[in-house]
């Protein structure tokens, strides 16, 4: 890679979202993740790349898999990590987000990985502290590392992103995964569809250049890959869909529905799955499901993001992983 290309691939201070990254940066992160995949296959899964850096995983919403994925990525790069969990109720009574951030900063940290219930929270934090901020999900806005690992998985299987058709199925309205995927896939030249009941699809999505399907059969006929979103029980309680049973009958991804596709579709799911609601077990466990590969790729992508934000150069990633922990 030329010098200017490496500079263009620099991530800057933070990873707040995919929307403004540009194709070059996204591709650079995906390329950087490739060499890191192999570290997790070793017996000793650790390189000294981030030795001495302190990373805080600040989770204002419960999350098991994203937090653990980040923690593995951090530990495999030899960073020191601290996990902080804070529920909305305890925060509501106590200090503000800006005070939490300033207190962490005062303890001299290097990076914050944050999950927060409010859209825009990651940017809010990034604008106020000098540490690197990685958005691990902010409200219904973005979840950039999830989209990156989805795109890495799609690229592994489809050979490329450009020109491929990817349909995001389910609760697009409330989904940060959907938004980050839409921004990233469109940037890389994919055709993007969204499919679900109209109550869960914001109509203005069309203006982003996204194709809207209200019938899952049409989406299956059109797409090369489906990214199936979790349907949360709260959505039924809030009246967006009448029942989970009806949702499964009309929008659930089943083997029978997939059988009409001209060629097999790649099946992704960001997890955790509601088997028998948005996806049937024989699809989730079927031959075209890449759901567990997504989890594996998640660690590699997060290692790449941590490495790049810490100042690592994409072209040096291969050399970095050859170092050994002393």
């Amino acid at each position: 890679m030329s010098r200017s290309a490496a500079a263009a691939a620099g991530l800057g201070k933070d990873l707040v979202g995919i929307e403004h990254l540009g194709a070059r940066r996204i591709t650079s992160i995906l390329d950087t993740a490739e060499p890191f995949k192999e570290i997790s296959e070793r017996r000793i899964k650790k390189v000294p790349t981030l030795r001495g850096l302190t990373i805080v995983n600040l989770f204002f919403e419960a999350s098991t898999r994203t937090r653990i994925s980040f923690e593995f990525a951090e530990k495999r790069l030899a960073a020191d990590t601290v996990n902080i969990g804070a529920s909305r109720s305890s925060v509501a009574k106590g200090e503000t987000l800006v005070d939490t951030a300033r207190n962490l900063e005062a303890m001299k940290i290097d990076m914050v990985v944050m999950r927060h219930w409010a859209s825009g929270a990651a940017r809010f934090l990034a604008e106020r502290i000098p540490s690197n901020v990685i958005n691990a999900g902010d409200g219904a806005h973005e979840h950039p590392t999830q989209a990156l690992l989805d795109m890495l998985t799609l690229r592994d299987h489809l050979g490329a992103i450009a020109g491929r058709r990817v349909c995001i199925v389910g609760d697009v309205r409330h989904s940060r995964v959907a938004r980050s995927n839409i921004f990233g896939l469109l940037t890389l030249g994919a055709e993007v569809g969204v499919c679900g009941p109209p109550t869960l699809i914001p109509p203005h999505m069309r203006e982003l250049g996204v194709r809207i399907f209200h019938r899952i059969e049409e989406a299956i006929e059109w797409a090369h890959a489906l990214n199936v979103l979790r349907l949360q029980l709260e959505r039924m309680e809030a009246g967006f869909v009448p029942s989970l049973r009806e949702y499964n009958r009309i929008w659930g991804v089943s083997r029978a529905r997939l059988a009409v596709a001209p060629e097999p579709l790649l099946i992704l799911h960001p997890g955790p799955m509601n088997r028998g609601v948005e996806i049937d077990s024989d699809v989730a466990d079927g031959p075209h499901s890449v759901i567990l590969e997504q989890v594996t790729n998640g660690v590699a992508v997060r290692m790449a993001v941590l490495y790049l934000l810490a100042g690592g150069r994409p072209e040096k990633a291969e050399a970095a992983k050859a170092e050994e922990v002393a």
């Binding site: 409010a118 859209s119 806005h141």
Partner: protein
Amino acid sequence: MSPRPLWIRGGRIIDPAAGLDATADLLLLDGRVAECGGEVEGPADAEVLDARGLVVAPGLIDVHVHLREPGGEHKETIATGARAAAAGGFTSVCAMPNTSPPIDDPASVGFVVAEGRRAGGARVYPVGAISAGLEGRRLAEIGEMVAAGAVGITDDGHPVMDSGLMRLALEYALPFGIPVADHPEDLGLSREGSMNEGLVSARLGLVGKPNASEDIHIVRDLLLAELTGGRIHLQHVSTAWGVEAIRQAKARGVRATAEASPHHLILTEAAVEGYRTDAKMNPPLRTGADVAAVRAGLADGTLDVIATDHAPHHYDEKESAFDDAPFGIVGLETAVGLVLTHIVGEGVIDLPTAIERMSPAAARAFNLPGGTLAPGSVADVTLIDPARAWAVDPSRFLSKSRNTPFAGLELTGKAVMTIVGGEVVWREDGSG
């Protein structure tokens, strides 16, 4: 003791109520306008003000401000709000009742009147609550509040969701001759929303308030005013269809008045980009098509008055995630500059019409004194330098709060002197 006579010489007097726009003198005596027009001979003890190059207007009136007292004194008090109003060129303001406790009985109305008198800035007129406790269940003591000095009623901040209660309010208010003001919003459609529903909200992952949430209540209120013969005043109209509905209702003879806020005349939802909490208000900033419609409504008189919806908040409250921040921006000290630069300057309305929308029309909507410089009327006068270039610097506001999306904006046109009851309560050089 009455103030020294004021002899204001050589200004461009614009008094839309009297159809006057001419270079002339104005003499204020004993708290009243003594003479207006032509060359006036002032008494020997008069203070002479050289108003050449300035516009001399009837005192500006803002019928929609939140002064936060009692209960929100860290954001604003009646005193700081009245002085901020004077610094913005306003001689009268109407204070909304959504304080804590709310202004929903004669004693609390009396408190606002008394604090307003002590403030020594703009006149402060209380607007009482429609419903007891702003709870939307039963009428507040409307007659008693009017007797104590309330000039209108509203549950502003809380729309009246029960159409039956709104009907009762419009009927019950009839003998008191006051307007019933409503913040039109159907909470069933908008409750979780923090900005306009559209492409920007879809991208930012924020819940939106659709135009329909405002339109439905505008139409409802107009129908109820038609049903009852009551006087409806629609606050901070922000939607294209809302403007059209008011236009049609007025053509049918419905007794309606309506407001446009400077921010809804100037900004779109794009100002929210970056989760800017100083662009979070209710109703939200909407699309360019809505801004164009609100401008057209202001130009043809469908929207009678310009009102700021001055909504001060402490910086701690706005320094938060977008969803967690309160709605509202301050407006008193930027309104004149914004209107002159962006509404008059961009040819939406001419200067006399702008003054009409900010003074006599406001006085008519709430039956307030002022709004004219005709001899015998109250000596409330605003002097405006239409050529004064300045930049919005929130650190210089007299308001306690700084929450404005217009910080740093370069404007042309500024109020340079505010006179209430013949007394200079504010002047640009600070000696007021």
